[in-house]
């Protein structure tokens, strides 16, 4: 592989990251080729020593996705971290994927249930006292407040579970970082 080919494949793999970041990463590898050339090594030899440009790009993307998640714990950061880690291609993550999707679906259902109960609680609180409920207006009011509090608690617990799940997945993904495998496999 030539230097130009390596850099083209690397850039293709990095597409979608902020332009400044791509430029920064590419500059690192360009400098590597320059230094190697001065040391008298051939382009193909250096490209081989660096490893697959696509894999290097995936690792940089995963790192980027994980950093975003650590900075802002919001659903889009979670999604990009999950996809970046899955993109590393650790085979057992792919096997775990259906299970993971099931768990994420369940958490999503919990969120929806929490919203539904909250809305219902709100309705009972505001309308209930005027609808002549069994036990009197105060009971309906308290019941509504209770439902809303319960829904809030459910949502909070679900959020904690989700954050924990994504953190766990990232930990697992990092454990399997493929960037270390070539270091081990070249010895074999």
């Amino acid at each position: 592989m030539t230097r130009a080919e390596f850099l083209t494949r690397l850039k293709r793999g990095l597409a979608g990251l902020p332009a400044a970041q791509i430029a920064d990463i590419v500059a690192d590898y360009e400098a590597h080729f320059n230094e190697a050339q001065e040391a008298g090594r051939s382009e193909s030899e250096v490209a081989a020593a660096l490893g697959e440009p696509e894999r290097l790009a995936r690792e940089q993307r995963a790192e980027q996705g994980v950093r975003r998640w650590e900075e802002t714990k919001n659903p889009s950061a979670a999604a990009s971290a999950i996809f970046a880690v899955v993109g590393l291609g650790a085979i057992d993550i792919i096997f775990l994927l259906p299970l993971l999707m099931g768990v994420l679906g369940t958490l999503f259902a919990f969120f929806m249930a929490a919203i539904g109960i909250f809305v219902a609680g709100g309705a009972v609180t505001t309308v209930g006292p005027f609808a002549g409920p069994p036990g009197g207006p105060a009971v309906a009011f308290l019941l509504g407040i209770g439902l809303m509090a319960g829904a809030t608690a459910l949502a909070a617990v679900t959020t904690l579970l989700t954050v924990g799940l994504v953190n766990g997945l990232i930990w697992y993904g990092r454990l399997h970082y493929r960037l270390l495998k070539p270091a081990i496999e070249t010895q074999v």
């Binding site: 590597h32 020593a49 690792e59 940089q60 270091a183 081990i184 070249t186």
Partner: protein, 108 residues
């Protein structure tokens, strides 16, 4: 499972080796990569994602140095946090190695 442990071990050791090299003198990525590739048989490309992570973790920082030939070089140096992390990891490593050595010695 053993493979996962081996990966994790190597990963920890790589970061530790980079910290150790930088604790002796500031350096640039090519120098670090070729040294570690030669001494501990690490893939050369591995260093770049690692340096980026260490930089975003605040363990290293970069500065540019003019070179006679070609564009300026990006040098890495340890931050105080990186230095502290090196001291801590080095102690952990020494304790781990001596524990393993003891077990190996007992088995011999």
């Amino acid at each position: 499972m053993t493979e996962a442990i081996e990966v994790q071990l190597k990963k920890g050791v790589l970061a530790l080796c980079v910290l150790a090299l930088l604790s002796k003198a500031d350096s640039y990525a090519y120098e670090i990569a070729s040294k570690l590739a030669k001494d501990i048989d690490m893939g050369e490309g591995t260093i770049y994602p690692l340096m980026r992570r260490m930089q975003s973790d605040g363990q290293v920082e970069t500065y540019l140095v003019e070179s006679q030939s070609g564009p300026p070089r990006k040098y890495y140096r340890l931050t105080p946090a990186g230095r502290a992390s090196f001291t801590a990891q080095k102690a952990e490593w020494a304790a781990f190695v001596s524990a393993v050595d003891n077990i190996l010695g007992a088995a011999a």
